[in-house]
Structures are given as C-alpha cells and as structure tokens.
C-alpha cells in the first residue's frame, strides 16, 4: 500500500518534470535546425541539424558587448556589495551601540522596494547624480544589500570570538580584523551571497531597461528582448532559440555543475 502510493507520487512528479523541461527541450532542438522548417515546433524532428542559427544570432545581435556589460554590471555590484555588507554585518554582529535594533530594522524595506517600483524618483536621482544611461547607474541601487547584511551578521556571529580577541591583543584594527580574520572564516556565507547576487542581477531586466537608453550600455536581458522582437518579426524561431540559449546558458551550466552550492545558497537566502 505504502509503496504503491510512492510509485504513483513518483510517476506524477515525473510527468510534471517532463512538462517542465519542454521549453528547454524546444530551445535545444530548434536552435540546432537552420533555416525556417515548417515543423519548427516539433520536439522530435528528423533534421537536418547544424549550428547556423548560433552563427546568425551571434552576428546579428551584439552578444559580445552585452556579455561584457553584464559581466561589468554583475561584477561591479558584487564587488561593492561585499565591502558594504561586510562592514555593516560586522557592526551589527559585534558592536553594541544605542539604537542598533532600530538601525537594523531600517534594512528590510529594501527587500520590498525594488528599484523599478520606484522608477520616477530613482530616475530623477540617477539624472541628478549624472549616472543615467551609464552602467554604474544600473548598479548603484544595489550597492547596499539588506539580505547581505542579514547574512553577514549571522555568519559573523557564528564565528567564535577567540580569533578576534587574539588578534586584538596583537593590536589589530577593525579593518584588519574584518579583512584578515573574519572574512576568511566567513567564506561559506560570502559564496552563498555571491551566488544569489550574481543570479539575481544576471537575470534582471526591468531596471537595466529603465536606467539605460543607449544600445552600447545594454545588458544581455535587454539586448535579448530587442533581438528576439526582431527575429520574431521574421519568424526566425531557430535564431530566437539560439539567442535565448546565449543568455540562459552560462548560469544554467554553472548551476548544473555546482548544483549543491546553488541550492543551499538559494535556500539560505530566500531573498533574491
């Protein structure tokens, strides 16, 4: 009875997973079929196959530029975040000061008020800081990270104080303590944060769309949306699939290789 139930549950889950994988299967199959075959929707075509769609997508879109901009954006955001969250995380984990809980409670609002929601004032701020239509303008709203501060506070608190106290006896200053004592011990937390941050910003669309207008400052997601609307107009669905693959593949491959890391990071975060 119990095993029969389990088998039925697994069969139902397999059916769901099969449906779930259809869009990916179509992307893989269609991207390998050059030209405009009439049965482009087929998941089991007889061929011919080739890499023509990838060549066409790569040459008709500005993928190298979009990759570069996306790397710069994600890397820039993460680099600054690691500094700000380590500093604030240390203050909340180790220093006792009046109003600490009040200041800490200022952070969660950032989780709700994502930049595109506040488009009107955020664009005004970017214009007045001369950051509109520049990559640093896309990055700036993310330089503080409520989730990162929570995570670093927790991570630092889990580290025994002995290490710091020994270093303090040797006369180490707070920057030295954070940089050379705590951060090396906080690596799991930093890796978890980096995975969540990179995934969120690699996939982000609406804010980079709003904050940038020139084609030379576009990131992958924004580039893909203009690219696909062009290819769709010509019914080049194989090229659409190939372009989508270029945007989706890097994170998918990283995920498949480092699956455990990704999943534990997502679970420990919950907040993108």
């Amino acid at each position: 009875m119990r095993t029969r139930g389990r088998i039925i549950a697994l069969l139902a889950a397999s059916a769901a997973a099969l449906i779930w994988v259809v869009p990916f299967a179509w992307m893989a199959v269609a991207s390998l079929r050059p030209g405009v075959p009439p049965d482009i929707a087929s998941l089991t075509p007889s061929g011919p196959f080739g890499l023509g769609n990838f060549v066409e997508a790569w040459t008709s879109g500005s993928f190298p530029l979009w990759y570069l901009n996306t790397f710069l954006m994600c890397g820039g955001i993460l680099a600054v975040q690691l500094v700000t969250i380590s500093m604030a995380g240390y203050a909340f984990a180790r220093l006792d000061f009046p109003g600490r809980d009040v200041v800490f409670s200022l952070f969660p609002l950032q989780l709700l008020l994502i930049p595109p929601l506040l488009i009107v004032p955020n664009l005004q701020t970017l214009v007045s800081l001369h950051l509109y239509d520049r990559l640093p303008g896309i990055m700036a709203p993310y330089f503080a990270s409520a989730f990162g501060v929570f995570l670093m506070r927790q991570t630092f608190r889990a580290i025994p104080k002995d290490f710091e106290e020994a270093a303090m006896l040797d006369g180490a200053s707070i920057p030295v303590l954070i940089r050379h004592v705590l951060l090396p011990l906080a690596r799991p937390g930093l890796v978890a944060f980096a995975i969540v941050s990179l995934t969120a910003h690699w996939n982000e669309f609406l804010w980079p769309l709003m904050a940038v207008s020139s084609p030379q400052n576009q990131v992958l997601t924004v580039g893909l949306s203009t690219f696909t609307s062009g290819a769709e107009a010509g019914s080049d669905w194989g090229v659409v699939a190939a372009g989508t693959f270029f945007v989706a593949a890097p994170l998918l491959i990283l995920f498949l290789v480092f699956q455990r890391r990704f999943i534990s990071s997502f679970v420990s975060s919950g907040i993108k």
Partner: protein, 338 residues
C-alpha cells in the same frame, strides 16, 4: 499564515525537544536553531559592551550601507509621496493637492491593472505553492532519480524571465507554435493564447508558475527535512492515513516555511513583470496589465510622473500592508533556514 501559527509550531518543537523524550537528531538540531533564532536579539555581547561608546567605528562601518539605503530606498519613498501630491507646475512654482489620486482612481486602466494583479497573485501563488509542496513530498527521498527530477523543476529559476518569455512567445504562437502544433495533432483548432482577452492573463500566469514552482519546492524540501520522521512513523502506527499525517503533522510543522514562502511569492507577484513588458505590453486591451506595468507605462511612455507617482504610492502601500506580518516572518525565516 499568521504569526500565531508560527509560534505554536515553535512552542511544540521546543516542548518536544526539552521534554527529553526524543533522541531524534532533527529535533535537537531544530531546537538549537530555534533557540538561536529567539536568543539572537536578546543575548548581550560582553566583549562588545566594553566598546559601547565608540561611535566613530559604528558610523564608518554603517555609512556606506545607509548612504545607499537613503539614496535608493528611503529618499525615493519620500520623493514619490511628494511627487504624487504635485498637481501642477507654473514657472517653478508647485500647486499641491490630491488631483493625481483623483485621476488615478478615475482611470479604468488602473482599476483593471489592480484587478488583474489580484487575479495574477492568486493565480500564480496558489497553484505554484500547491504544486511545489506536492513535488517536495513526492521527491523528498534523495536518490539519483529524484535528484534529476528536482533539477528539471528548478532549472527555470536560473534563466531570466525575459528568456522564459522568449521561449513561451513561441510556445503560445498561434498556428505554428508548440502548443498549437501538438494540440492540432489531437484535433484541437488553432487558439490565439496571447491575443485572446480571456486567455492572455492565464498564459502569463502559466509562465510565472513554470518559472517559480521549483524555487518554492526548494524551501518545502528544506522544511520537510526538519519534520521528525519518528513523529510521522508514530502516527502511521496509530493508523493515520497519508492525508491525515499531512494535515495534522507535516503541514503544521511547515508553518515557518509557509510564513517565509508566501511573502516571497507575494513580492514576486507585484514586482516581476518582465514577461508582460516583452510579450503582451499589457494587452490585448489591458487583459494582462499589472500594477508595475501600469506605473512603467505612465512614467516611461506617457511621461505622466504625477499619475505614475500616485500609482506607485498606492502599489507600495498595498505591498507594505500585505507584507506587514510577513516582514518579521521573512527575518525569522532567514534565521530558521540558515
């Protein structure tokens, strides 16, 4: 999920563990986690006390974060409230009033976007959470087979919503698209999924469910790992069926997970509209217009900052009031899971 539900669950776990009746590892671990969660903000830090009056390090350490919070979270809130009350600009002078709100509430497009967003929230949250929980229960045991199925369901989380939109634009394409291609073989006539006012919102909902279910499943899997197996076994011996065990043991113990996942799903339902922007532009005839897309239209297309500001204030107020309880739950959820 209410806060009462959460504290009842916590109470139960602590009582069970401290009564010493169980040696189950899961319970002991969850008790430690619970204690840490409760004690985290209470326990004084003796070493830190000695430095309590050194303001400079605190100010320097917090300055970068607070600067950006001020520039892009708190400042904008004040500015958008102010902007929503400006009804006219005459030679550098502002007139204040509620005119933008009057225009907003008189705008049928806004009413439609609000209603759509409500349907969209219910239509995405309920099915994806039910499906995520069902999948987590089915794939709870870890072996090669379940690991592969889990991976397949989580994969959509890793791709951008615009990439998902590009794939689903083809899936929903009338005639040659994937759905119609296979439905045609079953004798179903052509359907214009994204072009039909009755179907378009459902199609957009389907994309979101596809994209987010795996994410929520991860949390339910983590939550299920904390449900003590001996409790479930004891209920089985007492003759409780699968449904009864789920309702009386598993679901109550998943309270914290729900308290954590529901706010995230709610946030996604209001803030993730990339597919609407790239696929439907809110159409046909407002059938897929959602609050954030409406704000985007007013701000970036109609340059009506007054109306956009008023719509932002209303949307943020809705988001905040809906998340009022969940705020604390999110924070506790972070402690609980980590």
């Amino acid at each position: 999920m209410t806060e009462v539900g959460l504290s009842q669950t916590r109470h139960r776990i602590i009582i069970r563990a401290s009564s010493g009746l169980t040696t189950d590892r899961g319970v002991t671990d969850s008790m430690i986690i619970e204690q840490r969660a409760i004690g985290a903000d209470v326990a004084p830090l003796p070493a830190a006390r000695r430095r309590s009056h050194r303001w400079l390090p605190v100010a320097v350490l917090l300055a970068p974060s607070l600067l950006f919070l001020g520039l892009f979270t708190y400042g904008p809130v004040l500015r958008v409230i102010g902007g929503s009350l400006i009804v006219g600009r005459f030679a550098g002078d502002h007139a204040l009033g509620f005119g933008n709100y009057q225009r907003l509430f008189a705008d049928p497009h806004f009413a439609r976007a609000a209603l759509n967003n409500l349907i969209y929230a219910l239509g995405t949250i309920v099915p994806s959470l039910v499906l995520a929980l069902a999948l987590a229960l089915a794939l709870r045991e870890t072996n090669r087979f379940t690991a592969v199925l889990r991976t397949l369901v989580v994969m959509p989380l890793l791709i951008p919503l615009v990439a998902a939109a590009a794939l689903f634009t083809f899936i929903f394409l009338p005639g040659d698209g994937l759905l119609d291609f296979y439905l045609h073989k079953l004798g179903v006539p052509m359907i214009n999924w994204l072009g039909d006012t009755d179907l378009a919102l459902g199609a957009v909902i389907a994309i979101t469910v596809w994209k987010n279910t795996g994410y929520y499943m991860l949390f339910f899997l983590a939550g299920l790992a904390g449900v003590p197996q001996d409790l479930v076994d004891a209920a089985t011996i007492d003759g409780a069926g699968a449904w009864r065990r789920l309702r009386s043991i598993v679901l109550p113990l998943l309270g914290p997970t729900f308290g954590f996942v529901v706010p995230i799903a709610l946030l996604n339902a209001i803030t993730q509209v990339d597919h609407v922007v790239t696929m439907t532009q809110g159409g046909p005839s407002d059938a897929t217009n959602l609050l954030l897309y409406y704000i985007y239209q007013q701000a970036a297309q109609n340059y009506d900052t007054g109306l956009a500001s008023a719509a932002t204030v209303i949307s943020v107020a809705a988001l905040l009031s809906l998340s009022l309880i969940s705020f604390r739950l999110i924070e506790r959820g972070v402690h609980y899971e980590s």
